[in-house]
């Protein structure tokens, strides 16, 4: 019981320490939300460490146990943000809900492609969202890279999952320290409002904030690639 309480409260304490205020108050829900079968009694899947973010735990429960309750949690967290995000990138409200529906169903159906060692749930969902929004504007989708599969049977590596999480939280800190102007440019870029040329010309665009994250991802990829070849 003690450990269970620890499980539930610890991630939130960490967040409070690393993230300041911002629109994350809703996460308090997490504390009372049952992590149920999704976390305990996993079958050969993830045995998440207590520090692993609730979204990641829900996503792993969806991926490994097809856990609908965990999916509902993901929905409650991401769907209102996705709708806001889609509206900001120029979709009408009705279309934005279509995007939310498509993206959330893709999260459910393609959950096997989620790899917590390389990406946080938010990054993975961002990728799906952009694909979907491009599909709506063009007949042809965008070409996508070949998939890099995890080694079959490889055990989840909690320390790597946590490392990705920590890097992401550093990234969020860096983003929150941007000047309003810089923040606006970077939002425009990632909402798909700037062309490649615009991004190239915008020397003030703080692409450097992602460098540490890149290095981390790189080590993991080298490891995965070695397994492949």
């Amino acid at each position: 019981m003690l450990t269970e309480n620890y499980n539930r409260t610890r991630p939130i304490q960490r967040r409070a320490a690393t993230e300041g205020n911002g629109p994350r108050r809703e996460r308090k829900k997490v504390a009372s939300a049952p992590l149920d079968g999704s976390v305990n009694g996993t079958t050969g899947g993830a045995t998440p460490s207590p520090d692993i973010a609730p979204e990641t735990q829900w996503m792993l429960a969806v991926r490994d146990q097809r856990d609908k309750a965990a999916f509902a949690q993901l929905f409650d967290h991401f769907a209102p943000r996705l709708k806001g995000f889609a509206i900001r990138s120029g979709s009408a409200p009705a279309q934005a809900e279509e995007i939310v529906q498509d993206v959330m169903l893709t999260v459910w159906r393609k959950s096997d492609q989620f790899d917590p060692h390389r990406a946080q749930v938010s990054a993975w969902i961002y990728q799906i969202t952009r694909n979907r929004q491009i599909d709506l504007h063009r007949k042809l989708g965008r070409p996508v890279p070949e998939e890099l599969k995890e080694d079959p049977g490889s055990e989840p590596d909690a320390s790597q999952i946590l490392a990705v999480q920590q890097e992401t939280s550093k990234l969020k800190d860096a983003l929150s320290r941007l000047s309003p102007n810089q923040r606006e440019v970077i939002e425009k870029a990632y909402l798909g409002e700037l062309s490649h040329q615009d991004i190239s010309d915008n020397t003030g665009l703080p692409l450097g904030t992602i460098k540490s994250r890149i290095r981390l991802g790189l080590e993991r990829l080298r490891h995965d690639l070695k397994g492949m070849r």
Binding site: F85, Y126, R138, L191, L194
Partner: protein, 216 residues
């Protein structure tokens, strides 16, 4: 095999992640990422930035029925005509997955351009053009400038020009300022994936066959 030394520039990766890159350039970038761990990691970094922005995004109120509707759909079979897949098919031989996808799993349909040069056009429309080029060892591609930007990704062999040597996995980004004469190095024929953002404009006085070398 030597390490890839010419990578996808950050601005191109960010535009690709955000979905603002043209389909022709996106194909080249997706192909490069398929064989370059460094750029794949960089792309994931861009997704992380997008994800952080999404996570911090203002929320919008959802229609009441949306959640229950979606939960009710979880057991439906996935629609046959799925949207953009998250990953391309497997690569074959020298052709990474995205190229195989563009070839629809078939072999390239090479067309001779004379002098042993061959091309196989993958797409050519208002968004730009992308093609495979086959250059025999030692052969030069006629001197050409650029109208807009050209991306050239080496899939086999290598070529050299005024800016350096490019081998498998290397991506050359050429713009209006670059006037170059790529020459395929010795050994295997050089096979490249090349894309331009401007549609090809054919000039009546120029043989259609050779036009690509002046406009790509």
């Amino acid at each position: 095999m030597r390490a890839i030394t010419h990578h996808t520039p950050d601005a191109l990766l960010a535009a690709y992640a955000a979905g603002t890159l043209s389909p022709a350039f996106s194909l080249v970038v997706a192909t490069h990422i398929s064989i370059c761990a460094e750029c794949r990691a960089a792309l994931e970094g861009h997704h992380a930035v997008g994800g952080a922005l999404l996570d911090g995004s203002d929320t919008a109120t959802l229609s009441q029925a949306l959640k229950s509707d979606i939960l009710a759909m979880l057991d439906d079979p996935a629609p046959a005509a799925a949207a953009t897949p998250l990953a391309a098919r497997k690569g074959e031989g020298i052709y990474p997955g995205p190229v195989m996808e563009a070839l629809k799993g078939k072999k390239p349909r090479w067309r001779s351009l004379g002098l042993g040069l061959k091309q196989a056009i993958l797409s050519d429309d208002e968004y730009g053009s992308v093609r495979l080029l086959h250059i025999p060892a030692g052969q030069a591609v006629p001197d050409h400038g650029h109208n807009g930007m050209e991306l050239t990704l080496v899939l086999q062999g290598s070529f050299s020009d005024e800016t350096g040597q490019f081998a498998r996995g290397d991506l050359e980004v050429a713009d209006e300022d670059l006037d170059h004469t790529p020459v395929a190095d010795g050994g295997a024929p050089c096979i490249c994936l090349a894309a331009t953002d401007a549609p090809l404009r054919f000039h009546s006085f120029m043989p259609r066959l050779f036009q690509p070398f002046f406009r790509i």
